[in-house]
């Protein structure tokens, strides 16, 4: 009776069966194929695009504000 838990534990703790064949990644169905490079490049590209877009919005807003300042300065010259 005492051996049953030990046998069960030994069964559970057995290592998984060894790999019987190597499959090239390009032979996997597309759904199972997940290469890291597009995700890595995508992540880096996103950061760059987000920062550049934000800088561009600052630039655009600054242009508008400078135009407003010029327009107001023309409308109301200093007394």
């Amino acid at each position: 009776m005492m051996r049953i838990p030990l046998l069960l534990a030994a069964l559970v703790l057995q290592p998984p069966p060894g790999q019987s064949e190597f499959v090239p990644v390009n032979e996997l169905p597309p759904a199972e194929r997940l290469q890291a490079a597009p995700f890595l490049i995508g992540a880096y590209a996103f950061v760059w695009i987000a920062v550049m877009f934000y800088l561009w919005t600052i630039w655009r807003r600054l242009d508008k504000v400078e135009a407003d300042i010029d327009a107001l300065a023309r409308k109301a010259p200093p007394r």
């Binding site: 996103f46 920062v51 107001l72 007394r79």
Partner: protein, 220 residues
């Protein structure tokens, strides 16, 4: 600070040209392989967000209690830049998770609180844009709550059980990984400073327009 903008821009540009080479030469992590290299942009994005939040929080407290207009300019800049870097972190994280964990998103404590932090600062910007008169003070109070939330987001991985790596990963990095990481982090913090400087300049010019409008109305 305006005089430092040009040299700072040059330094940041050089650092962001050099960083990919250092990252490419860093060794692959044993279990995640290539995808772990997102780490060199993902974590510094959050560091930059925390810096922007700190600026926003301190400036909001000054504006709330002293009413200094320039503090409000810094708070707005901090909130906007925090949202930009938070978005970078929230996009790069799922791209990493999809390969490392097999899922885009997990509603675990780190990811959820990070999303909430981003939403708080989006709320700050929306309050400012659509809140009408007095919205600046209301937004400043929102920023204080957001700033108080940030340390919990950072420490959440150490307090609760989560799929996300904990904060111990960074101090235990081997020099071959720690060097590129430190370089990348510095580049992001300088980029954050650069964006804050540009945004504060814009806010100051907007204040000039407001003053000129008031002066023009007084005249007419």
């Amino acid at each position: 600070m305006r005089k430092a903008f040009g040299p700072l821009l040059l330094v940041v540009a050089i650092m962001f040209v050099v960083a990919p080479f250092l990252i490419a030469n860093a060794p692959y992590e044993s279990t995640m392989g290539l995808i772990q290299k997102i780490f060199y942009y993902h974590v510094p994005s959050w560091f930059a967000m925390y810096l922007a939040i700190a600026v926003c929080g301190v400036a909001s407290a000054v504006y709330l209690f002293k009413g200094t207009p320039i503090a409000d300019a810094y708070a707005t800049a901090g909130a906007e830049v925090a949202v930009v870097f938070g978005l970078c972190g929230l996009v790069t994280g799922p791209l990493w998770g999809r390969v490392a964990w097999g899922v885009w998103w997990q509603w675990d404590v780190r990811l959820t609180t990070a999303l909430l932090l981003e939403l708080i600062f989006i709320a700050y910007l929306m309050v400012r844009k659509f809140g009408g008169p007095g919205a600046e003070k209301l937004a400043a109070a929102t920023a204080l709550f957001g700033t108080a939330t940030a340390p919990f987001v950072y420490k959440s991985v150490d307090i609760w059980r989560t799929v996300h790596p904990n904060t111990n990963v960074i101090p235990t990095l081997k020099p071959s990984m720690g060097g590129p990481f430190a370089f990348s982090s510095l580049a992001f913090l300088l980029l954050c400073t650069l964006l804050l400087t540009a945004r504060v300049h814009l806010a100051k010019r907007q204040m000039t327009v407001d003053e000129m409008y008031l002066a023009y109305e007084d005249q007419s």
